[in-house]
């Protein structure tokens, strides 16, 4: 008759029955079989049978809980709590140990939560995505999307509910005391509709705003609105001048749902359906694309479809495979800001933090293990009275659970305080980090980590403690013989593991630190102090002609150089040391050479004035610098750096020949000089990459940076810079006026933050494992009190005794180092693959870390070793 019961229902009953306390199981099974059987007999009731059977699970859980209450699991917790209170020293040590591990894990998780996981406060934000172009043959980088790609991929039916595109641009807002550079977003149609953003005040863009015939309108961010207009709602309908052009303010976007979060204002692109010619080329990747997935499409399947479509498009397009994008990719909107490296960074940090947690748990585990022999008799007694082994393990786990929960609470507090401190230092330069906070997700994760830690910590001691047979334990309770020593061996294994993991972590932290230091202290190839930098953008409306643009910058440079506190000045499209500006990457071939793959050299393209070389204090090694005669109408020329020359013409013969940027300018330029390699790039790039310099007037650009070599006082030059620029055009904003060194430091802030985190984890690991060594050696000395007493009594010197204790820890350190070096090498390989500037085998780091670890271990053993030499033979003999 049971054959009537469907298989799923039967399985539910079988699983639930396992939960029911064994005493009650037979009757419980009978009852449910009867109920289900009855239900099967009623045809109308058969439909909800599975749901009905799930009630058996609830019923079983209820009975199990009742049983646990009756059998005193709670009493176990109380008992464990009282036992911990009786040993405040042990408890405090264990709690602090676990707090370090759990705190570190919680801290990193809350960072990841803020930057990768937290959904945006937009309706159904999990369906919001961004599209990127990729080119697998050129590496993992994500590029913008071209307009034809947008049309083909994002507006195709069946995948997205809506899509739009935008371009971030910098604009100068004038009208106030001083013109100011703001971050504006030019958006395509349906931008806010796709995001689901609602206006805070006024309205957002409608189709008419995108009509070229209509007046230009602008939407403000709440932050910009509050900062510049005191959150005054009469702003609606008023005029704001962007680059001198009037725009009518029509609405405000509420702060939390502003996207991109860094935007100050949004303006509509007025393309009237057809984009201008410069956007229309498929190879021009100039747009950022957002889209909202249809409800039943997930990111993975959208990526697969978009990739297949883009492959189909590009394979037949005849576009060069070296183009920025030949494939496309869909990325969730909320994690898209971290870019392609975000996941990797957090994977690395996550591994580091998991290791710290592991060390903390091993350490606490060792502490508990040392103590658990004192409970051996209690456990044996309970086992003798019929408690099952599982039951005893749970009883012992309750202790580590209390420790882990206390440690978790403390750890969350510590992590919160530490993160706030760290963020206060780093936040201004790292957007998104300011949103790190404790919320339900983070606290939930901390709780989960604490429980995991409790199991990790308590399981080993619990299994060991309950494995001993009853009679064995009774016999051994009083004498420290075999089992005690076995337990010590287990603890030794734990310590060796801890030391090995710490060594690996410290080595990796050391390697990252070295890599960072190298970047900070690398000789840039020029004198980097007494250099001021800033950027300027000329409004297109008033500087429509190249001649006007050229005149502005030429005028600015000559006026700056005429000032007393300024020795030299140059406009440049890109500042050295990654200080900012416009970084353009172009591919070059020898003019007249054959355009074959491999023959081209990719290089950073920089426009400079003739004064650039004097300002930096660097002159060409061969050939000449630019002069005033390399003007707009003069023959096109270029200066390349050594790295470029080495790539293109290893035989030194590049001066005098012509090169051509194949995809962009497509103009033959004669190389007139070769510049020594100086550091143009900042973070995480090869220190010297190929660079091509061209005269500014031959390739005019309305957005330029300035490099100013000041006299002895940089501060005095600052007002002069403002004065000069104000004299020429008072509506042009000066942005980012700071020393080049400060700009460089800001550029490195993210890396500095990561490095600090790594160093902190390494230190934490060292402290934890050394305190573990101290605990173990102290314990083993206390176990051998009698032995030492006897040996001292029969004439052993203090040196012999101390030597023996120290030798024991030296052995542990040796084993830990041997194992740790293997881990460290593996870790270094992974790191070097993930980050630039890290050397896998850096002997000084390895030697330094090993020395540090060995010294710390011996120092931690010194106190217990001294204690061993002070054992009074009489007291020692009496103690048993």
């Amino acid at each position: 008759m049971r054959s009537d019961i469907p298989l799923t229902v039967r399985w539910i009953l079988v699983v639930a029955a396992r939960l029911v306390p064994s005493v009650r199981r037979p009757l419980w099974t009978r009852q449910w079989v009867a109920e289900v059987h009855h239900r099967c007999g009623v045809p109308a009731a058969r439909t909800g049978l599975t749901r009905f059977a799930l009630g058996a699970l609830t019923h079983a859980v209820y009975l199990r809980r009742e049983e646990m209450r009756g059998m005193g699991y709670l009493a176990d917790m109380r008992h464990a709590g009282r036992a911990l209170l009786r040993r405040p020293g042990f408890t405090a040590l264990a709690v602090v140990t676990m707090a370090m591990g759990i705190g570190a894990a919680t801290g990193i998780f809350s960072l990841a939560e803020a930057m990768l996981l937290r959904p945006l406060p937009l309706p159904e934000s999990d369906r919001l995505v961004r599209l990127f172009s990729t080119n697998p043959t050129r590496g993992p980088g994500w590029s913008s999307v071209s307009y034809p790609d947008y049309v083909d991929l994002a507006t195709r039916p069946g995948l997205f509910q809506g899509a739009s595109y935008y371009r971030p641009v910098d604009r100068d807002v004038s009208g106030g005391r001083e013109p100011e550079r703001v971050r504006a977003i030019e958006v395509g149609g349906e931008f806010f509709q796709t995001l689901g953003t609602q206006a805070h005040v006024g309205r957002l863009f409608s189709a008419s705003d995108h009509d070229p015939a209509s007046d230009a309108t602008v939407v403000l961010s709440q932050r910009f609105w509050a900062l510049h207009f005191g959150a005054d709602s009469t702003i609606l309908g008023r005029t704001i001048r962007l680059d001198g052009v009037p725009y009518t303010a029509i609405g405000v976007v509420p702060a939390p749902s502003a996207w991109p979060a860094t935007a100050d204002l949004w303006t509509p692109l007025q393309w009237a359906g057809a984009p201008p010619a410069w956007v229309a080329a498929r190879s021009n990747h100039s747009l950022q694309v957002i889209a909202r997935l249809l409800p039943d499409i997930d990111v993975a399947s959208a990526t697969a479809q978009v990739r297949a479509m883009s492959q189909a498009i590009y394979s037949g397009s005849g576009i060069d495979t070296r183009d920025e994008g030949t494939e496309a990719l869909v990325v969730p909107l909320h994690s898209s800001d971290m870019g392609e490296d975000g996941g990797l960074v957090f994977a690395t940090l996550g591994t580091a933090v998991a290791l710290v947690l592991l060390i903390a748990c091993l350490n606490a585990s060792g502490l508990i293990l040392a103590r658990s022999w004192s409970r051996a008799r209690e456990l044996s007694l309970r086992a003798a009275l019929g408690a099952s082994r599982g039951r005893l393990i749970v009883a012992l786990l309750s202790e580590s659970l209390i420790l882990a929960l206390l440690g978790g609470a403390l750890g969350v507090g510590l992590a919160h305080v530490a993160l706030q401190k760290a963020l206060a230092m780093a936040a201004p330069t790292l957007s998104g980090l300011s949103e790190v906070r404790l919320n339900a997700t983070v606290l939930g994760a901390a709780l989960a980590v604490s429980i995991l830690a409790a199991v990790l910590t308590g399981l080993l001691p619990a299994i060991r403690a309950t494995r001993a047979s009853v009679s064995h334990s009774f016999k051994e309770g009083s004498s420290q013989s075999g089992q005690g020593r076995e337990r010590t061996r287990l603890r030794q294994t734990l310590i060796v593991t801890e030391l090995a993991v710490s060594l690996a972590l410290l080595t990796c932290a050391g390697l990252v630190l070295r890599g960072f230091e190298r970047q900070m202290s690398a000789d840039p190839g020029f004198e980097a102090s007494n250099l001021l930098s800033f950027t300027v953008r000329l409004p297109a409306a008033r500087y429509a002609e190249d001649a006007l643009v050229n005149a502005f910058f030429t005028d600015a440079v000559s006026r700056l150089e005429a000032r007393p506190g300024i020795r030299a000045a140059s406009a440049t499209s890109w500042l050295p040391l990654g200080g900012g500006g416009t970084s353009l990457f172009r591919s070059f071939v020898r003019d007249g050479g054959i355009d074959t793959e491999g023959a081209e050299v990719g290089a950073l393209w920089i426009e400079v004035d003739p004064e650039f070389f004097e300002t930096l204090g660097v002159q060409p090694l061969r050939g000449r610098a630019f002069t005033e005669s390399d003007g707009a109408d003069a023959p096109p020329v270029a200066i390349v750096n050594e790295r470029f020359a080495g790539r293109m013409a290893p035989d030194d013969g590049l001066v005098g020949t012509a090169i051509r940027s194949i995809f962009d300018e497509d103009l033959a330029r004669t190389v007139v000089g070769i510049l020594p390699d100086i550091q143009f790039n900042g973070v995480s790039r090869a220190l010297s990459q190929p660079v091509v310099l061209v005269p500014r007037t031959q390739s005019p650009r309305s957005e330029m940076a300035f490099l100013v070599r000041t006299g002895s006082s940089v501060a005095e030059a600052v007002p002069q810079v403002r004065e000069v620029l104000g004299e020429i055009d008072s509506d042009v904003a000066i942005d980012g006026l700071q020393t080049l060194r400060d700009a460089h430091a800001a550029d490195l802030a993210g890396l500095r933050f990561l490095t600090t985190l790594f160093a902190a984890f390494g230190t934490l690991a060292l402290v934890l494992s050394v305190s573990g060594v101290y605990g173990l050696v102290s314990y083993s000395v206390s176990q051998r009190t009698r032995e030492f007493g006897v040996r001292i009594a029969i004439g052993a010197t203090t040196g012999t005794v101390r030597g023996e204790v120290l030798r024991e820890s030296a052995t542990l350190a040796g084993l830990g180092v041997a194992l740790g070096l293997v881990f460290a090498y593996a870790g270094a390989r992974v790191l070097a693959a993930a980050m630039d500037g890290i050397a896998v085998l850096e002997p000084s780091t390895f030697v330094g870390v090993v020395a540090l670890l060995v010294v710390a271990v011996l120092a931690a053993s010194w106190l217990p070793a001294r204690r061993a030499t002070r054992v009074d033979p009489v007291v020692a003999m009496r103690s048993e």
Binding site: R30, Q31, A34, F52, A53, G55, T58, H59, E66
Partner: protein
């Protein structure tokens, strides 16, 4: 009755008092899921408000089905149920936003 029973448990008790005797039947009467009814029965039995017995195996065998566990209300259970219902009576009909209690809305 020191502490008040949860409403769901009271409703199961109420259904027992009306003579419904086993889990599935009680589910249909109260509209609760099996996950609510069975623990509630367990609790009622523990508190002494209900008791259970197994159906005579012979009867079940004759009907070619497994014997059922039947529940019934105890005298204590009845006292508790009356006290509980008394308490719920305090919830007088109320006119909320012009919507009246269905019983009240019916023309007398």
């Amino acid at each position: 009755m020191a502490k008040g029973l949860p409403v769901g448990t009271v409703m199961v008790l109420h259904a027992l008092a009306r003579g419904h005797r086993y889990g599935f039947d009680l589910m249909e009467q109260t509209g609760f899921t099996s996950g609510t009814v069975y623990p509630a029965l367990e609790r009622l039995e523990q508190l002494g408000h209900a008791r259970s017995h197994w159906e005579d195996a012979g009867v079940a065998y004759a009907e070619k089905r497994p014997p059922r566990r039947y529940f019934e209300i105890t005298p204590e259970g009845k006292t508790v149920l009356i006290a509980a219902l008394e308490k719920y009576r305090a919830l007088a009909p109320l006119d909320i936003d012009g919507v009246r209690h269905p019983l009240e809305a019916r023309p007398a």
